[in-house]
Symmetry: C2
Subunit: 338 residues, 2 copies
Amino acid sequence: MSQKVTIAVDAMGGDHAPDVVLEGVAAALAADADISVVLCGPKAVVEPFAASHERCRAQVTTQVIDMAEHPARAVRKKKDSSLVVGCRLVKEGAAQGFFSAGSTGACLAAGTLVMGRIKGVSRPCLATVVPSPVRPIIMCDVGANADCKPDYLVQFAQMGSVYAQKIFGYEKPSVALLNIGEEDTKGSQFAQDAHQLLRRRVPNFVGNCEGRDVLAATYDVVVTDGFTGNVCLKTIEGAAKVLFGAVKDAMMSSTKAKIGALCVKDSLRGLKDVVSPDTYGGAPLLGVRGACIVGHGSSNATAIKNGVLTTARVVRQGVSEIIEHMVAKGNDSDTITQ
Amino acid sequence: MSQKVTIAVDAMGGDHAPDVVLEGVAAALAADADISVVLCGPKAVVEPFAASHERCRAQVTTQVIDMAEHPARAVRKKKDSSLVVGCRLVKEGAAQGFFSAGSTGACLAAGTLVMGRIKGVSRPCLATVVPSPVRPIIMCDVGANADCKPDYLVQFAQMGSVYAQKIFGYEKPSVALLNIGEEDTKGSQFAQDAHQLLRRRVPNFVGNCEGRDVLAATYDVVVTDGFTGNVCLKTIEGAAKVLFGAVKDAMMSSTKAKIGALCVKDSLRGLKDVVSPDTYGGAPLLGVRGACIVGHGSSNATAIKNGVLTTARVVRQGVSEIIEHMVAKGNDSDTITQ
């Protein structure tokens, strides 16, 4: 039996909410009998679902934050939105984790403002599981902090390492800095400064990596500022979409190719699942008090299910507590790889 | 008959020099009877080749710049290297353009220091043709300036537009800023400042784009600082390599898939050529006096051939002169789209 955990879920998050959210929550509840869900959303959505599903409680909310709203402003104003209420449930201890596939900006704002930063964490960062066909790796920050100071990256490295270790079982995760050359002296002034700090303060830091190393999964954890990380992540997503589209077109370009396509279809479908962000179900906001996982706006029911299950795993593995302990200890980095 | 042009070529540039360089130069000479080449390199390499090829002159040099050397230092010290001599030939008027597949850093340093900046250009930028299966587009800067000021990007936009117009025939090229959100107010402080300047000073600026738009070729010209551009470009290259590798693996995963693979092989090979950087043969350094094209270190003979032909095309289209005129005119942007 696993540890019993309660996850607050934003019923209204994502492009296909609430239908796929409900479907995904049902699947998560069925997959893990030790998970309970507090479903946050409008009465008409959450009450019938809670009534017909075990281990699900309805939390009626009256406001919804749209994708287009200014994140921090919306979070401050819409105190009875599903997103803000979900985070508040974690803060108040009624749930241990929160999952939403809503506006990433609003999730970051709610996670940071409502759940609150762990004491000593300069900036929470959004980490992502890079959907590599080689193996999953962690990249952070991918968008919480467009402007970073070099020393933020030391904590990103530490927090990302905890996640890689506890969620993916990478014993002593290797950390690399995303840069534009392998040599220590390469890159922008920011990257050079970050390199020096990482070298001094993160024992599992192995040096610079380049854009090509990310999807190739050369290292376990890639750290970068939120601007570069976001560009890199979206470049990968775009490249996968364009290249798979082009492969599909090429396979439709002649009768011979079409026949071949029928034979390789099943094998390629497996690959497509591997490189889909849906497989991992969401990006953790690291450095806040409690588990907070942000799903892709385009999440399908599988992605929602995986997102809820990941949130439970983050709670059970005590990721937030380990980060808190690590930061409090001061000599942060020693605890990462124990 | 085309305009006669003379191109200086670095015989020692690239991982597979000089063999593939010689093969590529021979192919370029055969493809265009109005091109002459001055081949720069060691006596034993360049003299026999020049003796056995029409329209090729040997320029004996005694030094070679390695990939590992510090670029600017090597350029200053090794005045008789093939790379420095090639750029000097352009400066002195003995050639109109220079092509090398050598160390990118050293090419940028030699282009800027030896050929010299166009008056009024703050920083030359390295542009690249993004190898998209949709269509070729231009991204700049991709590595000449790791640290940029927002106003550099205005000139990058102008210079990239000239290249897109003159080399790819895009009549009124659309320019987008690589950022982490579509709204004007998104991004780092740098990106927000650059956005405002581009909005004011570049009439063909259309707004922000994201990482996913680059390979999708949503816009004709993507501008960014050299750090972000380099990360983005290498991410695309890495993603293409990993994803094509994974497709290949998937096609070998069962007997049925293997049979299918035989049928789709030809169609996929065509696609692989399209997304290969070799097809476009090099990245132009824009803003220097004369044509300067930098090839990929891993260039094969086809890439070298295409690089030499592209250099000739840049000369014939007067890219450098148009940029000079545009900058001198002060009201830069008006000339771009005429």
